[in-house]
């Protein structure tokens, strides 16, 4: 296997596996946030704001995986 092919496979694995966890996490966050809004619709403003903060933290992990993937592939 030449090095370019190995790089491509490594990037695919790194990004693919790294995105799985944050995907589940964002699903949980949004699910719980919607549940909370359903229970207490008047609090939707602050729930949505906090939801986006949580999403940003979780999504950062997926982005790290993506950056690592780019670094593997292009450097």
């Amino acid at each position: 296997m030449d090095i370019a092919a190995a790089n491509s496979i490594a990037m695919g694995l790194a990004v693919g596996l790294g995105v799985m966890g944050p995907g589940i996490g964002i699903g949980l966050i949004v699910g719980r946030a919607l549940e909370a809004i359903g229970r207490n619709p008047e609090a939707s403003g602050s729930v949505i704001a906090n939801m986006f903060i949580g999403i940003a933290f979780t999504e950062a992990l997926a982005i790290f995986a993506l950056v690592v993937g780019f670094i593997i592939k292009f450097t």
Partner: protein, 301 residues
Amino acid sequence: MEGGISIHLAPLTLAHLGNWPVTNTLVTTVTVSVLLIAFAYFAGKSLKVKPGKGQVILEELVSYPYAFVRDTLGNDKVAERTFPIIMTIFLFVLATNWFGLLPFTEGVGFNQPGLHEVTPLFYSPATDLNFTLALAAIAFFTIEIFGIATLGALGYGKKFLSFKSPIAFLIGVIEFVSEIARLISFSFRLFGNVFAGKVLILVILYFVPYLLPVPFSGFELFVGFIQAAIFALLTLFFTKIAISSHDEGHDDHSIEGSAHDMAERIEGGSEEGLHHAVEDENALLDGGTLNPRITNNVVSA
């Protein structure tokens, strides 16, 4: 990758000033700064006591975030001083992100000897790690300085170094590490989001050049806004954490706090204070942003 997609992690260099490379992201950053400063200058010069339409919109754009910052921090003095930098971060990141989506940013460029592709004159600055790292450093020092200014050097240092018990010591170490990790997560979040967006649009342009890039460009507009908001909001929340000491406990005293503030302002008797107090009261009455927390407290009490 001959004839395919070309992706660079590092920004392309346009020219050299002595030993100092001038990259296209740097050119864009300077351009956006100049545009923002010019906008602020002309908007500030034409302010009137009786506002016109444009001024009403501008005032709303400033006063709504300010009320949010004041509500979140619960400390008027810090809010007054930290609001300009938080709003600047927001506007600057937003402006650079959206400037990077304008059609000419990647189209206009010139050929360089030795490179078989066009070097664009403008390019979205957040695709350059130097830019995001600089912003993260600014946010980091802002947070630390406000923490020290509010709690005092000793009070702030106690968060990280405490010999009360082994667990307190360990918590201090963890706090310290998470403080440093903030630099990394701040910079890489913005960098990764914008860079991934650029690559996404590039890949889609390569495979389906017509129509399909449009919704994704719209999505990039949304991402640019969200990332700017997240950057500013996280700076705000970390400032909030930095200025609150461990000893006070974390009970939610927002209502007592705001009622106390109101009383103080009314007692203070200044016209501005009264104006603020009346505003707060209105917000309480008409079920604005303050209402949800009240319901929450009533429910939990």
